[in-house]
Symmetry: D2
Subunit: 264 residues, 4 copies
Amino acid sequence: MKPLAKLSLFACVVGGLTNPLCAQNVPTPPKMTPDMTEFWEPEVKAITADAGNVAPSDAKVLFDGKNLDQWVSVNNPQNPAGWTVADGVFTVKKGTGNIQTKDSFLDYQLHIEWKVPATITGKGQGRGNSGLFLASTGKGDAGYELQILDSYNNRTYANGQAGSIYKQTPPLRNVTRKPGEWNVYDVIFTAPRFKEDGSLFSPARVTVLHNGVIVQNNTELRGPTQYIGLPSYSQAHGKSPIKLQDHGDPSEAISFRNVWIREL
Amino acid sequence: MKPLAKLSLFACVVGGLTNPLCAQNVPTPPKMTPDMTEFWEPEVKAITADAGNVAPSDAKVLFDGKNLDQWVSVNNPQNPAGWTVADGVFTVKKGTGNIQTKDSFLDYQLHIEWKVPATITGKGQGRGNSGLFLASTGKGDAGYELQILDSYNNRTYANGQAGSIYKQTPPLRNVTRKPGEWNVYDVIFTAPRFKEDGSLFSPARVTVLHNGVIVQNNTELRGPTQYIGLPSYSQAHGKSPIKLQDHGDPSEAISFRNVWIREL
Amino acid sequence: MKPLAKLSLFACVVGGLTNPLCAQNVPTPPKMTPDMTEFWEPEVKAITADAGNVAPSDAKVLFDGKNLDQWVSVNNPQNPAGWTVADGVFTVKKGTGNIQTKDSFLDYQLHIEWKVPATITGKGQGRGNSGLFLASTGKGDAGYELQILDSYNNRTYANGQAGSIYKQTPPLRNVTRKPGEWNVYDVIFTAPRFKEDGSLFSPARVTVLHNGVIVQNNTELRGPTQYIGLPSYSQAHGKSPIKLQDHGDPSEAISFRNVWIREL
Amino acid sequence: MKPLAKLSLFACVVGGLTNPLCAQNVPTPPKMTPDMTEFWEPEVKAITADAGNVAPSDAKVLFDGKNLDQWVSVNNPQNPAGWTVADGVFTVKKGTGNIQTKDSFLDYQLHIEWKVPATITGKGQGRGNSGLFLASTGKGDAGYELQILDSYNNRTYANGQAGSIYKQTPPLRNVTRKPGEWNVYDVIFTAPRFKEDGSLFSPARVTVLHNGVIVQNNTELRGPTQYIGLPSYSQAHGKSPIKLQDHGDPSEAISFRNVWIREL
């Protein structure tokens, strides 16, 4: 610890010591009592959670192992999600298109687990490619994509591997598990805010833990994902569905389980 | 989604549509190719982790169930930590004082699990009180305290319960489990930075998941914890040990296990 | 400049030099052309301004030297402002109460000039006390106060002098001019934003130049000003009037001139 | 103002009213006294300034109308700046290269005035092109450039006109005055900070007033200016000189006056 250098606001009363640089003839604020900085209200809401596979008691379960009732087709939102449900997981059904939640969300915590087949083939972006769109801002792939990819011994561009904000920010570490093993994403998303005139007020931000390791630490998003060119916030939006990508690759039979969300 | 209102930087080329508000006689930036925004270097370091009880492969284990070799007494750092190790956990030994890590850290991710005895008695702050000091800035209780307390059916001031930045910021939720059950803290800490003259450049920030639930979301800390009065950053510091509190209460036999840290 | 240490995203192609740490067998993004990062739309709006006494061409003039038509009584908003206009300036009329703008504003740049009489008496807070409320959140003194006070050779508490966010943040410097001379505040204010449920999304921020010197640099406000106790954001609000304070002191005949605002 | 919705921290004691949602049987923090939040130390340093042409009393004058003793050649820092001084201003001397301050700075407020000749010719980037490098990170044009250009009735790309962070962020408004008239930049710059390993801790930020109008409001810089491609923070640096550009165009005889800086 460095010695006192430049004093900040309250520094004449540090640790019971009087700073000789402080004037002696000016008032010293009266000492507070401990309870003056103890605030009881409002009471913090109690919930139950166990850091394991069970959703916290205040979460909305988006997939409970049984059906995709909370999901619809992106391109035809009146249609049910066309992906496959079996053995307590759901799996991309190639060619049926992206799916998204029935409900829309603003700021939230999301838990999702994903797995590529143990028998996966392909390389680079062509190996277990899907994506979690943190907010779906339109049809197709419009939105903010957190990449899902088999990045286990499968190098690609750093800002395109598992845990990256696609074409924006690489993950801090590559924590992808072997094909056939489950990966866990814990995501805390803060939606962008816009002014009345539609221009950006504050960008989206995201924190991601991949298999319990921080890979995005309050990362600022520069706009919805652009496959070509630079992202920007060109359209105001509010609450949005969450979307999963059917990337259309041959070897893409990516499965998901244990999906829940808590609005913040 | 709202219609285009005020256009942001690149908005004349949204989704293949031309905005009629944009002048037609000014240059349009040439289209990039997809690979112009694909960055391969530096390669993201690969590690292994499983979102469970095993420390990630790049973590430093601070407690492995066997001994407190990574910890020392706060008040006599040349002395070993005097707490009890048994059955793969370590437990506060009342009256031996706070303990802290041998090593110092700046920005990091920390995992720690804690438990109060199933037979705990007392109420309010007198029930399973300890604390995790995210950076120990001096002897005794100096530092930034993330509160540890039995907050299960035990109301106290909101900014003094488990998951709070003590005397500063309440947790978003009370996720404390029943006495006798293990609680998990996953902490991402960004240390404060100071200018050359010792004044504050940027405050500390912390994200905390309690049993997997976000309870502090990139919260700004207002200075080291003050039991009486208002916090402020009055002393510059750099890397610091991490500290655990011996609060000195009768019923405080709090236990810890599975402690690891990753520098960021 | 330090040598290359840890490489950031694009660091294999710095200044035409190839970094030997970078793998040689991975793709390098193709070079862009200069015009790929040259964005013409939307055109930036042109205005005129001269850094002097004349309001910029896109400003709304809140006082033009002639009348207080843009201002009303705070406590009876249907009543005109009761302060005195003479010689191109307006002056607090003791006992008539605070005044505020007819219009409401969210984010803005404000220019205002103020002066205490050359013959002023009193000391501390009792010497030329007024205040500029950056957003008036209710009757009386409710709101975010940028302090106005004769702080020339008149010491008071640091977070209560001219240029301070009252009872929160002292100015970086005391730039108050002699009684009888005009002071200039140039203020850039970002209003707080709230969530749908009324809780805080982002705090207010303010930058202030006092006589051309930066005294608040994107300072975060902790809530509306509290004369007693700690500020907090307990009530959501949107656009708000700007308010000037009639502090009620004997020697408070503070005058104002050249007031204009630009919405951001 | 919206009614109380979700209560924030201290909301049971708003304006003397008791919130019925708050429990009645929990402690209420004792009321503070007003002076508990009045902090006198450290005393704020007093300076003089007049928002006009005279430098504040704590500023370092970088050009006083007489000589370029505070400046050197960028490419040969042991050589004096080769630009022309006459009539109380200094002017780019084409072909002599960029010049930079002898001293280095970290965070600062800078005032500078610039003017293009009334007889200027050319268009787009070829009309009165120079640049203020907020930190010179190397030879040539390395650094963070705030664009200087005759943008009066001279359209170019928005992120390349006067007041822009060159090739990054357009100004909020085009406030450029007619050729032959003086423009004023008031700049508040926060330098980037780096970690020990050379990676970025926090990006540079800048606030700019152009002729008294805010054109950059705490804008985040994405790295040193890149003429081609995307900026990034690839090299750690600390205090740096401030640099002015000799762009080498025929019609570039840009003049400067009244340059001063205050370290923050």
